[in-house]
Symmetry: C2
DNA sequence: AGCATCCGTTTCACTTGCGAAACGGATAAT
DNA sequence: ATTATCCGTTTCGCAAGTGAAACGGATGCT
């Protein structure tokens, strides 16, 4: 279960995770691309381009390009909707699941290290 | 105090926060810029360009440009080191403190909403 | 059938970020 | 007093993201 995370602690957790991500220079994803990825994996589908664009309040081309990038990294896949062939359904991949799983572990690791070594300002 | 945050919960918290940030399109900061900002505010100083570059494993010009952006948003300020005038010390600003404070609140808000409404996948 | 509407993508011109290398100014070493 | 070294910044050429608008293809309407 979650906790009543205080703002300062939350920020510190944020820092540890983001800094670690920058260091690894792992798939160097944009904030938008990451948001899109998380939407697809942690939110009930089906996910269409327009739906994602509306929810994130960005233009459709932005979603298209983000999908290009994520698809090329095999983190996500496109599938034409059989019901309405104008629509595109965004689907998950094994590689994407693994990636996010590891990312989640990275966050919890950051949280764990924060417990033993309290922040310094 | 912190919690043993489980990976899935951590990811969901991450999603809520990032998505909210994208929606607001608030100061639209790069991941690197955000990492830099958090470093300056949550880590004991003094902070120099080379130090930050080394810690984040990025090139010095990248730090310089990030400081340009953050400075222009008044989230951070430069000051020549009086001891060694080759160095530049990165300092905090009132506006930056407020910004991060609000960001922390946004994270905790996301965590709170997660408690009442468990994720759906 | 014909026309209007809704999709996602592509084009366009623009902005922004990137690393490597070169640069000027400040300090250290001889 | 030179010379060498270290600092942050500025070029340079390049890669990638942005929204608006136009586009082709699929569906809905009459």
């Amino acid at each position: 279960m979650s906790v009543q995370l205080e703002p300062v602690e939350a920020l510190d957790l944020w820092r540890r995770t983001i800094v670690e991500g920058v260091r690894r220079e792992s798939p160097d994803l944009t904030t938008r691309q990451m948001a899109l990825l998380l939407m697809v994996y942690l939110t009930p589908g089906p996910h269409t381009v327009r739906g994602l664009a509306a929810h994130l309040k960005v233009s459709k081309p932005a979603i298209t390009r983000a999908l290009d990038k994520l698809g090329q990294l095999d983190l996500v896949r496109r599938k034409v909707d059989p019901q309405d062939r104008r629509s595109v359904l965004v689907q998950r991949t094994v590689h994407g699941s693994v990636f996010l799983r590891e990312y989640g572990d990275m966050i919890t690791a950051a949280a764990a290290s924060a417990e033993v070594a309290p922040r310094a300002a």
